[in-house]
């Protein structure tokens, strides 16, 4: 732990810290462009110059200089000030003065730092360099004249995303950032370079010229596009969500967000259910709330009522439906829409126990039936980190393109019963072995066999739990905690042939099994569920209501309401509360706060943000065998996995262009 002095203040810094980090620890702000905590050090922008003794009598790039014992660092001398002004002046030589028409304006590092550290005016009178725009796909808009060559975007795609596609061509003043042959950046995290770019060279294409940052209301929310529960910020103006940006949470998403989580929000404004609809003689017709409630009451469900939760619903909605069903005398709850029926007796057995931060430290990883890159892109980032630290990865299932070296063991699950020798050797020698079971594996009934493997390889040991199930639905863990699971899965519900089925945004269900039921769709998008429904009650999307979500690690997180739902749409719990009145039962809450309190009283873990505790793994049945062939993964198209994404024009375009390889002609701008 070297001791250094920063501007006369003596501090101790961790081993391996840089001078820049030492300055930060001392509370000094160091301007920077190329340095980023989560990327390798490039040291090419020179904005972070400070004065360091001992050393040559010239300013030093603090981001690339290790802090050593006895260093005297100064950030406040005339030399440092002059150096910063000089660097700034050089950076601005070739940077256009187009802030008024630049989307980065108001949240631009270059703008901010030139105000804080630059000279008052420009002395440059020559011509400026100009660089042609580069096509980088449907999400990233480029204005390459603005690029200051910090190479953050290059380092991100190489180091974090693991997809080497952005590069710096040519040299010196002619250097240009581009993808190979201007192909679209085609990975699930591509848009993160927009946040990383310190200037307006890479900006958001769908959001181009939509708003200025200072007009936006910022709401803390949770991404519901997968079960990772990335922390996001919804920026809204009026009734419209303009964009979603990641928030920093080292335990969950670090500071990244998948392209789907970021860009499906335009789907919030399309194909919305904003009226009540009732099917009359085969056709959906607009109706009033009253008529709808009467129609449901007329079915006289009694205890013959079921609720099926969709992938995006919050715990409060699920609890409200549960309370309603309980009052009716039913417990026909299910959330696994596509028919999964794994045992939910122990939630620890269906949870991502290693945690995302923990899986980074695993040294042997067996993935069973999960296309991690599409099912949880941010977990794939963690796996890549683990591999960089030396972990070995084996995958059972059809091949996909991981962004790290991995060995595919084929799609036949029986391989789990007798793993090849190199796998068993790796696992026996591993200190932190981990297994990740995905949806495709769960679907083939591999849970038992995987638990048996957990036993065999001692995945649970002191301070380490390597048994993980990776879900894909934001509502899954919350649903399981609230009892949305039947022993036989959704098949049990179909068998019970309920008179009324409440579909809580359930869009992936095969409704042909419910022909005899009155299907009441409570949701926000005119998607598959609404098409099959007999009664449609328009509800709120995740952005339009407060709600609790539990991610696949069992992490309880709270999302806030950003905007109001459109038209007649109401928050889901109010609909269920009113439905209780229509059905003549009491559910015991009249406000959201009461509902939440009742839910927390029943499942206390939902009241505490952070990891829920599910106890120890259940005893494994050593004889459990896995069999069957994993023919494919549940996600066929990364960009269109939920009703919001399917309604989003941006996601549709991504799907067409990046998944299906269609050429999309650029409209002349």
């Amino acid at each position: 732990m070297p001791k250094v002095t920063v501007d006369g203040q003596e501090i101790e810094v961790p081993n391996g810290a840089t001078v820049l980090q030492a300055c930060e620890l001392a509370g000094k702000e160091i301007p920077r462009f190329c340095y980023h905590e989560r990327l390798s050090i490039a040291g090419n922008c020179r904005m972070c110059l400070v004065e360091v003794k001992p050393g040559p009598p010239k300013p030093q790039a603090s981001c690339a200089l290790p802090a050593t014992e006895g260093q005297e660092i100064r950030t406040d001398t005339p030399m440092v000030k002059a150096a910063r002004e000089g660097v700034m002046e050089f950076l601005l030589i070739n940077h256009p003065l187009d802030c008024p028409i630049c989307d980065q304006g108001g949240e631009c590092d270059l703008q901010d730092q030139s105000v804080a550290y630059g000279r008052g005016g420009s002395r440059y009178e020559e011509n400026k360099r100009a660089v042609t725009e580069k096509y980088m796909g449907p999400l990233i808009k480029t204005v390459m004249t603005r690029c200051i060559h910090c190479t953050r975007c290059v380092r991100f795609s190489e180091e974090i995303a693991g997809v080497d596609e952005i590069g710096a061509l040519y040299r010196g003043e002619d250097m240009q950032i581009t993808t190979y042959l201007e192909q679209a950046a085609a990975h699930e995290l591509s848009a993160n370079v927009i946040d990383l770019c310190p200037v307006g060279a890479l900006t958001s294409r769908p959001y181009a010229f939509e708003a200025r940052p200072w007009e936006l209301k910022k709401t803390l929310s949770i991404d519901v596009s997968d079960a990772v529960g990335a922390n996001i910020r919804l920026d809204s103006r009026g009734r419209e969500v303009m964009r979603a940006l990641p928030r920093i949470n080292d335990d969950v998403n670090e500071e990244w967000l998948s392209d789907k989580g970021r860009y499906m929000v335009d789907g919030l404004g399309a194909r919305r259910l904003d009226k009540v609809w009732i099917r009359k003689s085969g056709k959906l017709q607009a109706a009033s709330w009253d008529e709808a409630f009467k129609a449901i009451a007329k079915a006289k469900p009694g205890a013959s009522i079921a609720a099926i939760a969709g992938d995006l619903v919050d715990c409060e909605t699920m609890y409200a439906a549960k309370a309603l069903l309980r009052a009716m005398g039913s417990d026909l709850l299910e959330g696994r829409q596509t028919g999964l029926s794994y045992d939910t007796g122990s939630l620890a057995a269906v949870n991502f126990n290693s945690t995302f931060a923990g899986i980074e430290t695993a040294d042997a990883i067996l993935i069973v039936g999960s296309h991690v890159r599409w099912e949880a892109p941010l977990v794939n980032v963690r796996l890549r980190k683990a591999v960089k630290r030396g972990a070995k990865v084996f995958i059972v299932g059809p091949e996909w393109e991981p962004t790290y070296p991995a060995t595919f063991l084929g799609g036949d699950l029986s391989v789990l019963n007798k793993l090849p020798k190199d796998v068993t050797d790796t696992f026996k020698g591993a200190e932190r072995p981990a297994l990740i079971l995905g949806g495709a594996g769960l679907g083939k009934g591999a849970l038992g066999a995987c638990l048996a493997l957990a036993d065999k390889f001692k995945l649970v040991r002191d301070g380490w739990n390597g048994f993980n199930v990776l879900h894909m639905a934001a509502s899954r863990m919350g649903g399981l905690m609230l009892g949305y699971a039947q022993p036989g899965g959704i098949g049990d519900i179909a068998k019970a042939a309920p008179k009324v089925v409440l579909a809580l945004g359930a869009d992936e269900v095969d409704w042909s099994a419910f022909t005899g039921s009155l299907k009441v769709y409570i949701g926000h998008h005119g998607d598959k569920g609404a098409h099959a429904a007999d009664v449609i009650l328009p509800a709120a999307s995740f952005a339009e209501k407060d709600g609790t979500y539990v991610n696949t690690e069992g992490r309880v997180q709270f999302a806030e309401k950003a905007v109001f739902a459109p038209g007649d749409a109401r928050e889901d719990w109010t609909i269920l509360r009113a439905l209780a009145d229509a059905l003549g039962v009491t559910v015991g809450f009249d406000s959201f706060a009461q509902l939440q309190a009742a839910m927390i009283a029943e499942v206390p873990a939902l009241g505490e943000e952070g990891l829920a505790s599910y106890g120890a793994l259940p005893k494994a049945d050593a004889k459990a065998k896995a069999e069957g062939e994993i023919a494919g993964y549940p996600i066929k198209d990364f960009y269109l996995t939920n009703p919001i994404a399917r309604a989003s024009a941006v996601m549709q375009r991504c799907s067409a262009e990046l998944v299906h390889g269609e050429e999309i002609a650029e409209a002349a701008e």
Binding site: E165, L169, Y170, T179, Y180
Partner: protein, 222 residues
């Protein structure tokens, strides 16, 4: 400076170069280069391999050679590298030609020492023969490029043609060199100044004269 953008990715380009593969001899050379680096670090051989590929293209087209995109992709695949990383290297170094060049790539140094010693006249000489900067001459023989200092300032002005330097040039001497090349002969490389061997002072040593034939300790004379 020559056009440093890669030749456009057209169907014709793909048709012509899509099936590029090492000749037997070059494959051995490539393996030899790769073997210089530890296993798993084969990427380090990217520069010699690009050069090798450029030479092979040159041999196939009877020019100095250049790097069509499919050839760059071939090298990337050979080294198991993302092709953008290889393109970065190819666009960085001026020795890699990204556009077709003529049989002789005439690179005239135009930096200050050469300019003071008459490089402007050398450009004139080249232009008179039908060369223009960045283009292949009509007969396919020449490509003219203006380059920055090649490190031969002591024998300025100089021209580099393919793998050889020609120094101490005058328009007449350059003409002679180019004539010889056009006629299929190999002119004398290096300095063209009669009596000069390499870059030693023209007309005999001017300093440290006592050291010419034997070592001499100057320290006492300081």
């Amino acid at each position: 400076m020559a056009d440093r953008t890669p030749a456009p990715d057209t169907p014709e380009l793909r048709a012509r170069w899509g099936s590029f593969a090492w000749t037997e001899e070059n494959r051995k050379k490539a393996d030899w280069h790769i073997a210089k680096y530890p296993a798993g670090r084969q990427k380090s051989a990217v520069m010699p391999l690009l050069d090798l590929a450029q030479r092979q293209v040159g041999a196939e087209t009877d020019t100095q050679g250049w790097l069509p995109l499919p050839v760059i992709e071939y090298v990337a695949a050979h080294l198991d590298m993302p092709v953008i990383r290889v393109l970065e290297v190819a666009t960085f170094y001026f020795m890699y030609n990204l556009r077709p060049v003529g049989k002789f790539h005439v690179q005239v140094c135009g930096t200050t020492p050469c300019m003071l010693r008459g490089s402007d006249a050398l450009f004139e000489t080249c232009k008179k023969r039908g060369m223009s900067k960045g283009h292949v001459s009509a007969d396919g023989l020449w490509t003219l490029t203006e380059v920055e200092c090649m490190g031969n300032c002591a024998t300025a002005p100089m021209v580099q043609i393919n793998d050889d330097n020609y120094e101490d040039l005058t328009p007449e001497r350059l003409d002679a060199v180019l004539d010889a090349l056009a006629a299929g002969q190999q002119p004398k490389t290096g300095t063209q100044e009669p009596g000069r061997h390499t870059s030693e002072p023209a007309g005999g040593p001017t300093t440290l004269k006592a050291m010419v034939s034997a070592n001499h300790d100057y320290r006492g004379e300081w």
